[in-house]
Subunit: 439 residues, 3 copies
């Protein structure tokens, strides 16, 4: 059909359908009905993508605030480096390994990401989805979150380069492979496993990798006394930690909202809205729960618990931020807060030294969130547990092997003297706050 | 009408109206002409909403930077807690109390917010407006701003839990009731009172509640000498305070821009653009005015005044960010800056100890902004003054009663010893910067 | 044509074209095909604009983190003041000087910016572009970046008011004039000079102005020993510097993405996506390159180099963020990182004391990025070099004259004693961190 022919036959209707106000329009120019959804969804990915990108700053500030000042520069270095490495690895092989198209459901090694051509024509674009660039960008910023989770847990004693080597494998290979099982349309997706925005695919994967690292590394010097006493090691800057938490909360609107993967219809944009509202509610509930619980248990509110409570609420709602009512988001997120308050001392009892609380927040609340899907979403418990176990087994075992190899070859832990003096001077030769004397 | 019938009768026209490029389309799928405005406006609420959400971080950083380091952790705790409580209370009763639909114009108690169904069909959606979830989210982040204003003023001597109790009532009941008078279509709206984005409805309400709190609490120890001398108590971290100001400025684009409540037409999106430009200009003018004035008055520029000058400019333009020209925004915002520079020492003269300058910025500039509407918008002075007085009387009296009850029952102020040692150790048992020794 | 007439003649077609779901529609209401692109592009400017706005906070944090604590309050003051001044000057004359419409290609003095009318009708709007307000806002936030670049280089010894006087001229006159040569459709644009988002127009212009300032000012006391030794002067807060870098990286998605200047077609929104992906890749590559290079050269990773590496990657891709493949972005950005690592010590050898590394990042990488266009974009080397030279000559000479005049009249440098005591106490009478004792 050409516009010209149509004009001849039905001039009045053509006037309605055509731009009447001075825009030159070529024959067969696509209409907004045809391309509007593509533009909206691409825009969703760009907007959600920059929000999730900013979570890199959130993790950096959270972790910089929760380590001692002698390790702050190192923590900052790790965070900007891991994001950058993730960006390169995910382009090189990660993205197409995670989204291989038709594959055996378990593994297909992908090649470099190729973007749409400049000024791609509508007939060459995926009009029922979004531009490749926006999709790649959106998925890319997710993988960095996984690596950031590890970074926080293993802080204050790990060497820089072995950590970065781990990040190369995690972001380029491990995360993309296991990610393909669900989001790439692999075997767990076929089985009906449900994980909307990644309580398991992203957060618990980061948590398992972190847990393996923390076990292989061992606790920080002086964290656990010989008498079984747990020595608190307070973070150096709770203002930064709070800022980091707020930035993560902000980024989570993109994390969960963008995972709707569509914004061009009434139903889709309304769903994105539901997700925003639910995500916010779960975070609020996690924070309030931790606030009240720490008051009841310890007679004093613990700010770091409140921060981690909010984050645990966010992780908890991530597997299913769409289907629950606001009340559902409230109690799902609230339980996330409960988990954090009890899991942090529990890990300490096991002498598992997770500096920032990444394992309670991302692994435990991630598991909880994945289970909670059964209450509102379309999922059954067995399948959810199979998915949780599969991601856990693959990531934990893979990470254990990788950490062990790194430990046996290059070594992963700084010397006692370096740990005492701080990683900043030992590994970087600089301090984050050189002018502020230590108390 | 069904698409099918139409196709039979007028095939050529149908081809124009239908997507021609390979998208499966069900019969009677709505066109972009029908649903585009809904999608755009919902998107506006989501985008503006996450910007305003981030203001929670802005307030937290501003306040954490302007209190002494011994009270920083407490200030951070209050900020994340108040946002979380506001989110829950506004869902529970606030939103529907503020937007009750048809009501007596003064008060109607609302119930829980219920979102649109998942994947809501166009015929069930408010196509002339936006999704419930996006609207709820956008309104929700406003109420938290009100509570943040109070938090800054009463800092450094208020107990945590009584403050949070106040927040429960403010965000769940007081703000929604008075908000319904204007934005819910109540009596002040009927009278023609004009307040586009909340110079009065949000900012002066927060300011009145803060003023009541500060009066009931009394000034910090040592702030006012017996000889009438005002002792400056400098903030501990002006970098954070500046960061907070920039974040608030950023968030204000959402605060004012989103209040257009529509983005799906040429006129609406252009109006949002006007609002962005005007909002930015007013902030700039407020900052420059404070910069110049403090140089002239004190022979030295005062950074905290410049920060508060920018914020006062923002509050000033909030009642009418659309109608003024850029020059209008310049002088309206500039007067906001003047107000701050003179109001801060004026309050000190009255021994009203507002830690962060919240009352000058939000109450005084809020009143000014509400009056300034008469120069560009459609409003008359008398109506504006009635509105200002009504919000002032209701909020100030209500807050005085509430603060007084809290004082008489649980007490609202920490002991002298706790205040001297800092609220962080007294109420939380932790420090924000444990490693940095105090000068 | 009226809708009414049309309805009478062709009722069935009218039913297709008209909203069928309860939206009142006036006669001749424009269709989404007519206005959709305008709305999308305006939205692009608003979204990209607030991202670029936030770069003001990024620069402020980066610079506050890289100066000594005794100069932090001053650096913060300069940053919020320069943004505010830029906003006013760009409205007063800058915007219309930069975009004068038809002009001689070299210079036309513009007047105040006038926004679209409130609720502008489609027939009065630039339907093939975007709203004036959004365009103005987007362009405005660019000019502030230029001034921020200068601010960082001349830190720790320049007086406040002479610096601000320089900003008035730079943002109101110099930047807009030279900007008109390319982006205003002037002589360099006619010649085919290519600079998509401002490697030269924004970044190297800032860099040249900074270079002139640094030369006229001379180095900080104690930076260069008499024996040729370079004394490192570490920044006071690397957490803030890292935060600033992440904020700038975030803002760059708007900086480059918004420079597509259109989002209403499949090709345009996909191009914006390419730009996001490429921009991210270049930053990552710059950071990783600096990470590896500093390890190889100095046996220790240098965090500030990594931060500046990321920024140099961003500047490098800014002249052509669209045309390169992701691999192109990788190597172009990576060379940016190389430039920084070698340029910083090179400048020190010349005793050019650039406090934050602004000249390597913005000038050198800006030149590199402008040259790199020839590998992917439509540009030839000679034209690119002419452009680089023209901007360099105009800005450097203009800035030298301006700095010299300021030096000869009001003086631009604080006294030795003031420099030693810090600009905060000398010029502001306040400290950024008054409670933290200096080590």
């Amino acid at each position: 059909m050409t516009m010209k022919l149509f004009k001849t036959l039905l001039p009045a209707a053509a006037l309605v359908a055509l731009p009447a106000m001075g825009m030159a329009q070529e024959a067969a120019a696509p209409t907004m009905d045809e391309v509007g959804p593509y533009i909206f969804t691409t825009l969703l990915f760009l907007m959600a993508g920059f929000l999730v990108f900013f979570m890199a700053a959130g993790f950096a500030m959270l972790e910089a605030g929760l380590v001692r000042s002698k390790n702050v520069a190192m923590q900052l270095t790790k965070n900007i480096a891991l994001f950058s490495i993730a960006a390169i690895m995910y382009w090189l092989i990660g993205f197409n390994t995670m989204y291989p198209g038709d594959f055996n459901g378990f593994f297909a090694l992908g090649g470099q990401t190729v973007l749409d051509a400049v000024g791609v024509a509508p007939e060459d674009a995926a009009l029922d989805y979004a531009s490749v660039g926006s999709d790649f960008f959106f998925q890319l910023v997710f993988v960095a979150a996984t690596a950031s989770i590890v970074s926080g847990a293993v802080a204050e004693r790990i060497k820089l380069w072995p950590f970065l080597a781990f990040v190369v494998v995690l972001t380029g290979i491990m995360y993309p492979i296991s990610g393909s099982w669900k989001w790439g349309g692999g075997w767990l997706d076929a089985m009906g496993f449900s994980d909307f925005a990644g309580s398991t695919v992203v957060h618990s994967v980061g948590g398992w990798a972190a847990l393996a690292g923390v076990i292989i590394l061992g606790p920080r010097l002086g964290k656990y006394g010989k008498d079984g006493k747990v020595n608190p090691i307070p973070g150096s800057n709770l203002a930064l930690a709070t800022l980091g938490t707020f930035i993560l909360w902000l980024g989570w609107f993109g994390f969960n909202g963008g995972s709707q993967l569509a914004m061009g219809t009434v139903g889709d944009v309304s769903d994105v809205s539901r997700i925003f509202a639910n995500t916010n509610m779960a975070a609020a509930a996690g924070a309030v729960t931790a606030l009240i619980l720490t008051q009841l248990l310890y007679k004093k509110v613990d700010l770091t618990m409140v921060l981690n409570g909010a984050l645990a609420g966010l992780v908890s709602i991530t597997a299913e931020p769409l289907a629950p009512t606001l009340f559902g988001a409230l109690w799902i997120g609230g339980i996330g807060g409960v988990i954090v308050v009890f899991a942090v001392p529990f890990l300490d009892k096991l002498k598992i030294d997770d500096v920032v609380g990444a394992i309670p927040v991302h692994l435990f609340a991630g598991i909880w969130g994945t289970i909670a899907v059964i209450f509102y979403g379309e999922a059954n418990l067995i399948t959810q547990l199979i998915g949780i176990a599969a991601y856990g087994a693959f990531t934990f075992v893979g990470a254990m092997i990788l950490w062990t190899i790194l430990k046996a070859t290059v070594g992963i832990r700084v010397s006692e003297e370096e740990e005492i003096n701080g990683l900043d001077m030992a590994e970087l030769g600089m301090e984050a706050y050189p002018e502020f004397s230590k108390g």
